[in-house]
Assembly symmetry: C2
Homo-oligomer: 325 residues x 2
């Protein structure tokens, strides 16, 4: 059944089970923050054909990824999730099942963090567009900023990069990567369709922040973009060691060195954290996170971001990063 | 200049002055609630060609109306505004000026309530879609619910209804209402393009709520819809007195009785409040608000919503209300 056949009220009734609060017109959700905590808020807009498509993302994955992006933003601020709202502009030809599957994807990820959908809006449109706003709360001492990186600190990434982009390319061009095993293909595709936000790390980061400054953001727009943004806002530069980038050798092996570098630095949507902190603490953090976390470089005074490949040096610039425009 | 020519970063820089916080990638906004207050949140999605268009709404009005709808939702919960986020999917052919004008419209209305835009997201799309999430705060004793109306209470509307819809019709069909004076036409068009949310009333409502229960919601989806929703959620019915409806006689005079009734009850987007409370308090409220507020009927035990026109009675049903689907 298509949503144009069921009408707004019919659709809202179907979705009621996913949303305990006001999306069907009940009394609005009223939320409480923990004592002493502050509120953070983040919004993401996803457009059919730009951020998702039938070819790359089944509806369950569309919902999962939309939530993952927002929870990742909260994690990047040091905040734990409180609630989300879902604003939907839906094409009338979409099936009701598509919408239900998408909600299922959203609530599957949210359930792990005990986070409800507390409201939203649904209207019909010629182009399906999903807008998620996530609310989080944070102890004022645990806010992770982008603007506080200092020369002498090292840069840690919490996990692999480039896999999501690799998965996207396989989905768009199934003839690519036919030399990969099914397991390798699945790993890449799963990185694209079901990314995990780094919320589980927060307790460790909060503990470290009692005695040290941590600067950071997530790598949703690419690892290169994250380092560039942190450096620009902190008034510093960085040196990144190419060989230390997690997953670079694996992706190189699979797709060649140039492709690998492009995806790892500019692929985006890996939803890992890029953090700057004192080396000693960074080493402990890498131990805690496990083998996929790595120290990839250091913060320096000179305001350029340089990629070091043995003797070779390359300057990273904003223009090169992945852009939807 | 079109936004496709200026790129994402260029556009974000242009919009920086409207948003003091993270929309351009600065550190995220961290907000504090007043002591003892709870958080409420509301989301609205607006689609080009459905909720606004070049024919009916200049960009300044698009922004104003998007904010008005959300502030009205907050007012309807008894909450004062804290911050908003703006999620934009923008057509590449839109001019940068259009986007700036829209932000100007948003901030013009927000400035009156000292409410900042604290974040958002911008991406390009084949169809311009605007998603606003408004955050508000409310004393737990001052939350206005939809589900607490009691037989014996009367129903108050805080202002005129049907004018916004009348204005919309004039904009869509300029040949309509040629018998109206320019002043009358302007009044209708302004009701559509620049509605005022009822936030200024809140201090009076909070004071009354210290000693009485107030139930209510806003009339954004129509006065009829508001009464039906309150009754359905409260498990009661209502009798509405046709002759008491504000603006019904004026619109009747201008467009005929049938059109007037349809617009006043089902037109929507008037952004007034529909409140149920004890008669004595209601009379005081009407005095406070002034001549455009009226007692329009009463809450009864029998679970129908009946429109009384002298001797004649008509049942109101959800199916008749204005629907975007």
């Amino acid at each position: 059944m298509k949503i144009k056949d069921i009408g707004e009220q019919g659709l809202l009734k179907k979705l009621q089970s996913f949303c305990p609060h006001d999306i069907i017109g009940d009394d609005a959700a009223v939320l409480s923050l923990d004592a002493q905590k502050q509120l953070v808020v983040t919004t993401d807009v996803l457009v059919d054909g730009v951020h998702f498509s039938d070819i790359t993302t089944p509806p369950h994955s569309v919902g999962w990824r939309a939530i993952a992006a927002n929870l990742s933003d909260l994690a990047a601020m040091g905040a734990s999730p409180l609630a989300v709202t879902v604003g939907l502009a839906l094409h009338g030809e979409l099936s009701v099942n598509w919408v239900e599957q998408m909600y299922q994807g959203m609530t599957s990820l949210l359930a792990g963090y005990d986070t409800p959908i507390v409201g939203g809006d649904i209207c019909r449109s010629r182009l399906t567009t999903i807008s998620i706003t996530a609310l989080g709360q944070v102890n004022p001492n645990h806010v992770i900023k982008r603007s506080t990186a200092q020369p002498g600190e090292v840069i840690v990434v919490t996990g692999v990069h480039g896999m999501s982009r690799g998965g996207l390319e396989l989905l768009l061009n199934p003839s690519l990567g036919t030399h990969l095993t099914q397991q390798q293909r699945n790993k890449l595709i799963s990185a694209h369709q079901y990314p995990q936000p780094c919320l589980d790390l927060l307790t460790h980061l909060w503990e470290m922040m009692e005695t040290t400054v941590i600067t950071g953001m997530d790598s949703s727009d690419g690892l290169g973009d994250a380092v560039l943004q942190i450096c620009a806002l902190s008034g510093v530069g960085a040196q990144i060691d190419l060989s230390s980038l997690p997953s670079i050798s694996m992706i190189s092996q699979w797709f060649g060195a140039e492709q690998a570098l492009n995806w790892v630095l500019y692929g985006g949507e890996d939803f890992e954290l890029v953090l700057c902190l004192a080396e000693e603490k960074a080493k402990r953090l890498v131990e805690i996170v496990g083998e996929e976390a790595k120290i990839i470089g250091k913060i320096v005074e000179e305001k350029s971001v340089i990629l070091m490949d043995g003797e070779k040096q390359e300057y990273l610039n904003f223009g090169e990063t992945f852009q939807h425009f």
